[in-house]
Amino acid sequence: MQTAKKIGILLTILTLCGCGKSVTRVSIPVKVESEIDISRYSNFAVLPFVPEKEAARNEKLPEDIGEEIAAILRRGLARQKHFEVVSTQETARLLTGETVGEDWLTDTKRLNQLGEYFEVKGIIIGSFRFYSDSRPRRYYGERYSVQRQRYVMDYQDYMQKTYLLSLRVMIIDVETEQIIWDKAYRRSTAEAHTIGSFIFSQAGPQANTMRELGKRAASEFTRQISPHYEQEDRYLVN
């Protein structure tokens, strides 16, 4: 009797599981439109990015790093079919004798004149702040103890150095002198150091880390202002 009851319950459960509708999750490409009016803002001039002077913690970087960030952004935008970008050489030629400073960020009149000079609809300008933050960390793990003949809890101290880049990107409408885009992009990366390697890292060049973070931030900006595809989940019913 007991066996029959058990079989009955088991069969019921199995059947109910079988009868339930199952679903399959699939990712479909979904077109995401640009966050700006690309029919209006189709060509840009990208000016060199300026280091934020107020940020006292800025790491020592090569002087032309702002120009490098601008070049990364230019390359990213030029790859999009919707945009035309004034080339790096052309920008450098037209800016000969000028030094882009922090005061340019608020001087929309000057940027407007420059935009007319470049014959573009929008000027892209911005600033950056790059700094590092180091903190001692402790990693807990296990190691085999020969004396005790078993695994024991152990820890190791290290220095975690985090590089942070805050990139502020602005788009200025040349016609209206209005700021149509003003967003900050923050990117970070971390390294684990022993005391020895930490000292070397403090003295070593950090421009490559900065470039890498700059690329990531610039690509996020480019993605936002260009139409692109994203993956979104949908449910197929079996």
Binding site: M1, K5, T12, L14, T15, K21, I28, Y235, V237
Partner: protein, 133 residues
């Protein structure tokens, strides 16, 4: 004792009948098409999947699953009008199905963001995705 035996017998009989139904359903032609189409969709072969789901609808025009799945496929290839129509049909046939509602809402939200669907989707809210079974 006799009562328990009878109950157990009824439970076994019911289970067998239900499992029979399930087996019959799985082996049906529409089910085979649906399974094939789902595999095609997972491989991103959306046109093949559409072809199969259309065949399912030709056989059984009231198959809500096929309409829903067809909606997903149409959305994947960017045919938004057809996708909306398919989702609507699926929701009409089975209004309480949470997956149909979810797919339909997400499609409308996407249309609203693209600026295509301004008024109808204004009150559409994203709901939590249900757990997969």
């Amino acid at each position: 004792m006799l009562k328990y035996n009878r109950l157990a017998f009824i439970a076994i009989l019911g289970s067998l009948m239900l499992s029979g139904c399930a087996i019959l359903r799985d082996t049906s032609q529409t089910e085979a098409y649906n399974q094939f189409a789902i595999r095609a969709a997972q491989a991103q072969l959306w046109n093949e999947a559409i072809f199969r789901w259309k065949q399912v609808i030709n056989i059984d025009p009231d198959d809500s699953k096929a309409h829903n799945n067809l909606g997903v496929a149409y959305e994947a290839i960017g045919n938004m009008d057809a996708a909306i129509a398919a989702y609507q049909r699926a929701a009409e046939l089975e209004p309480d199905n949470k997956y149909y509602r979810l797919n339909y809402r997400r499609c409308r939200i996407h249309l609203r963001r693209s600026g295509v669907d301004d008024e109808a989707a204004l009150h559409v809210e994203e709901e939590e995705p249900p757990t997969e079974q």
